[in-house]
Subunit: 232 residues, 2 copies
DNA sequence: GTATGATTCAAACAAACGTTTGAATCGACT
DNA sequence: AGTCGATTCAAACGTTTGTTTGAATCATAC
């Protein structure tokens, strides 16, 4: 028996199902994608999903897990590299942001191996109402968020942590829409030159860093009268 | 017959259904919300939805239409006011951004009449895969986007229009997440002080304007070697 | 009071859903 | 050849889905 070797023929059906599900989830959403659509596209039998994954929910989870685990591993590795280079010195906020969002954008730029497809799916899923998907995302992100937010707190020691938290949240939103919404939002003008993910990276990074570095907000009690109040 | 007067008793069932649907769509999503959940919450008969709206799709459309029409009317009114005040002079970009996003945030701050609920729904819907919802959103937004983008083009005449378009897109993403994701993204730290929509406005506005004003990106051919290349 | 149009209601409809079943098929090892 | 575990398959399972139906109920107008 070869229980130590790789599985017989790597059950390519399993992978076909994952790929088909990923693509269909982007196209129609999680709930609107049926098992029959998935197995049909994967050229597999209807029962194959339940055989290989147990349930539709478990399949959804695995679709996210296989990509997200690798993405977050890369993110942590990038942060590790930064901190090693800095040798204890505080990191540049822009480098931290690049490590987090740049890694994601690199995956989104990969149209060959489905990375682009997945990132479109992921971007939409942060606001997914499905309870167990959110729960799963939270667990999968816990360590990465703790590490990156901690790094930002140290890099911007004079900025209130609450503000950093919010701005990180805003940045996640901008990135998610940039990826998930490029074709969705053809609201925007007829010709939306989205077909250039190579240029998306510097575009988004400029925007994110501009937002991160923006002057802190002033919470004026009566903001109606606040005309030209500037705050540095 | 009183065909000129208001409908007998304003068919309050219709409104109860709309309110129930709106709340449930936020909670569970469009597809995962069934007619029976809606009519159950609205204390109406199952057939009432088809009687008053024709179909579930038509109900979805009406849930968005009743709020979105008013929101975009306010946005256009705010822009009209700005342009009237300026008397032909170019507008300040920050004012344009405030007119567009501030109006939406004001609606999101209204927790009394369901505005907050709706904005959470709307924010998620820009990336909604459902084809006909997107089609409907595109139509509903066409005029507003044309007006506001046009105003930004004139206010930032020296900035390439493509960059403005992208940054507007990024801003939409940041805002949508700020609203739609506050409770969804309790990924972020245990205690996320989201319960203060009064402070969300200045926070988000600072971020958006920082991003809008950020230095334009440089598209370096070989970005691997670009270590400390600074661009102003 | 009675006719009329609008609304509500319980019940049923066919279709699609995720899942389960038990037999058929396959590949590898003895 | 024969056994065994893994995988595939067609068929059916019981629910739930959005929608339709025809009678009951209501408020109003004559």
């Amino acid at each position: 028996m070869n229980d130590s070797a790789l599985p017989r023929q790597a059950s390519e059906t399993r992978d076909r199902i994952l790929d088909a599900a990923e693509a269909l989830f982007v196209e129609h959403g999680l709930e609107a994608t049926s098992m029959r659509m998935i197995t049909g596209r994967a050229n597999a039998n209807l029962a194959a999903v339940n055989y290989h994954f147990g349930s539709k929910d478990a399949l959804i989870q695995e679709v996210f897990r296989r990509r997200l685990t690798e993405l977050n591993r890369q993110r942590l590795a990038a942060l590790d590299r930064l901190e090693a280079e800095a040798q204890g010195a505080p990191l540049k906020p822009s480098r931290i942001v690049e490590a987090f969002f740049g890694t994601a954008l690199a995956l989104a730029a990969d149209t060959e191996h489905g990375g682009h497809t997945f990132m479109r799916l992921l971007g939409r899923t942060y606001t997914e109402p499905n309870a167990f998907v959110r729960q799963f995302l939270a667990e999968e992100y816990a360590e990465v968020l703790e590490r990156f937010l901690g790094a930002l707190y140290r890099a911007l020691a004079d900025v209130p942590r609450e503000e950093i938290l919010w701005r990180f949240h805003f940045m996640m939103g901008a990135m998610s829409y940039a990826i998930a919404g490029t074709d969705a939002l053809q609201l925007f003008a007829g010709t939306f030159d989205d077909a250039d993910p190579q240029r998306l990276m510097p575009r988004l990074m400029s925007f994110l860093l501009g937002g991160l570095r923006a002057p802190l907000p002033v919470f004026s009690a009566a903001r109606d009268a606040a005309e030209g109040a500037a705050a540095a």
